[in-house]
Symmetry: C2
Subunit: 391 residues, 2 copies
């Protein structure tokens, strides 16, 4: 289907000009786009009646001239965003500028399988829409992050290790059945990277975000765009081999994987072995905050191990920003200090001369924010936005 079947030519062009938020008159738009004035007038009427544009000057009720300036209307539609983890989810309803209108944290168990988990998410999503005084017909789309590998194009998880029952499940079809809205899915680290980038780092072109929690993963931004890779598997650094000898067996079957050496789960196991009992990232963080020297030592060493692998990523990808997030990063500066130590030692001077190695700034909102932007960027792009005008 070409775009001409969807909406009249020029509509998308006009809308892309206006997405920057600056109000314009029809005459200005004709001058900027080169479109005929009559075409501009017609297309603007279509965009106004779709709600994607609004008048930005008020009609003078005492009899002045009618409103002439139009602007993008972020309130035209809403997005339901869900950042689903192993044991909890964060849900939000945002407007088309990505601003959160309402949000909610929810306890769940990913191992209950896709139907149970997604039905809960959709139920709570409906409640959030009501809370925001909107309904399902206002949905531009639904954006979902999952804690495992996802084939982004189909929205299906691919052999996710901690998600029994999810392999190959058609997440978009299920959610569309529940809420009637187009749904995009990606892994939790990618949406976190997108959210963090859009909130804080858009003046740079290239970023790597690493998430250190039960597992270890990363998200890559190239020229401001999420680099997903061919199977949507880009950024998967948990099973990269650490460059020092180790015989630690990973659940993937290889030895010396980063995740088997430096994840929250790995540190908890090492601490337990050293006589300091811990079962997960949260325990490790608590021990660190209570001043356990053994815990701090292990966190710092994990930072160095992660930094060794990130040094390779920095040499290959040459980002401006390397952001460190995830549950284990809550233990304070020890993790990132280890990362810095190894990255600066092993990367080429040219690749690190302007590199910023920083803690995640967006906190735990990065995921839902990124999930919302994933939907907004896709649906409002030229070639997509036309479909919103024929509904």
């Amino acid at each position: 289907m070409t775009r001409h079947e969807l909406a009249p030519t020029g509509t998308a062009t006009l809308f892309q000009f206006l997405r920057d938020g600056r109000p314009r008159t029809r005459a200005e738009l004709a001058a900027e786009t080169g479109l005929a004035r009559s075409t501009v007038a017609e297309r603007i009427d279509t965009l106004l009646s779709s709600g994607l544009l609004k008048f930005s000057d008020k009609a003078n009720s005492t009899g002045g001239r009618p409103p002439t300036t139009v602007a993008f209307n972020p309130a035209a539609r809403v997005v339901l965003a869900a950042d689903i983890g192993a044991t909890h989810a964060k849900l939000a309803v945002t407007d088309l500028a990505g601003d959160v209108l309402v949000e909610e944290d929810k306890v769940l168990n990913i191992a209950d399988g896709p139907e149970v988990v997604l039905r809960e998410v959709c139920d709570r999503g409906r409640a959030l829409l009501t809370q925001a005084e909107r309904d399902e017909t206002d949905l531009l789309g639904v954006g979902i992050g999952l804690p495992g590998p996802v084939e982004h194009l189909s929205g299906k998880p691919t052999n996710p290790p901690i998600m029994p029952g999810w392999d190959g499940f058609d997440v978009p079809a299920f959610v569309r059945g529940e809420l009637g809205a187009a749904t995009l899915v990606d892994n939790d680290v990618n949406i976190m990277a997108l959210g963090e980038y859009r909130a804080h780092w858009t003046k740079y072109e290239h970023m790597i975000l690493v998430k250190v929690a039960t597992g270890i993963g990363s998200g890559l931004i190239s020229y401001g765009r999420l680099h997903r890779g061919s199977q949507g598997a880009a950024g998967d650094m948990g099973h990269v081999r650490v460059p020092h000898d180790t015989d630690i067996l990973c659940h993937c079957g290889n030895v010396g994987c980063l995740e088997a050496v430096a994840s929250g789960a790995a540190i908890a196991a090492k601490l337990t072995e050293a006589g300091v009992p811990a079962t997960n990232s949260a325990d490790v963080v608590t021990l660190a905050r209570n001043g356990s020297v053994t815990a701090l030592q292990h966190i710092r060493q994990a930072g160095r191990d992660i930094g060794e692998v990130l040094a390779t990523a920095v040499s290959l990808f040459n980002p401006s920003v390397l952001a460190v997030g995830g549950a284990l990063s809550l233990a304070g500066e020890h993790l990132i200090a280890g990362v810095r130590e190894a990255v600066y030692q092993r990367s080429l001077p040219l690749a690190t001369q302007n590199l910023r190695i920083v803690p995640l700034r967006s906190g735990d909102e990065a995921g839902v924010s990124g999930a919302a932007f994933m939907v907004i960027d896709h649906a409002l792009a030229a070639g997509q936005v036309e479909s919103l005008l024929t509904q």
Copy 2:
């Protein structure tokens, strides 16, 4: 300077439609772009008089109707492309479709410094232009690849290890002084990656090209675009640490760098130590072709070592294509066999399920071809092409 100062609105839009090579009538262009018919007629006249468009139907000399169909004219301008190595260069003049019109190989010594080398390149470039029956005023631009790190935005080499006298030299200013044309510069591996991708792999989105010669480097393609990184240093994998114990000292000061272990120079040194004298990649290739088992063993091990680092690159970047080129790859299948062995052993199944690990297909033309596309893509992009119409 906004684009409105350069050329009338709509010209770039029209030209981008026509860059696909398909001829169109003015009426078709008005329908496709939504531009007013009078605007289309004016802008097409401008593009025709610049030469960037041509009539694609012949006027009927016996009195038929005048020509009405216009198309992109790749012969409108030419590009001078130079792939400069340590001891030789390949030069070519191409048209705006990137097709080589004339080319030449040239012996030179990069250590003679930038002024000597670039003056030689410009002199031979002028001769090639004459051979192609064009002159300097026909140049769209000059594209140059250099065997060291280059800050792409400024076109200046940055601490290039094998290029004495080149650090910080303003290559574009010098070449513009000689030939009067805008000049873009990048490192040799990036232009090789771009040339190989555009010639053979555009149906895939993501590619890594690794060049194994005296040094080891790679070029990354993300969504069809060269990922250069923040300092133009992306793909620099020569100084990534190999993940097994080694005490080999690298010229960069670290130990265990890939380049110190697996480059052509490193293999030559190991062979010499083993009683099989060799001084460079070419010697190693000759030994391999003559059936030296020791040489084949070392090449295969180099392939494994390179593959260990590439396994990390594959996990992080998730390309569809991993192309292996450079002088050492001429030794036959042994290098790439070692690469395949390590990549398939160490990368995640998801990242390798559709991965193609292949020898470079473009041969030694990849570099000049990529240098030409670097110039063409830049100069004919919307926002740039307008400047060609005011000259």
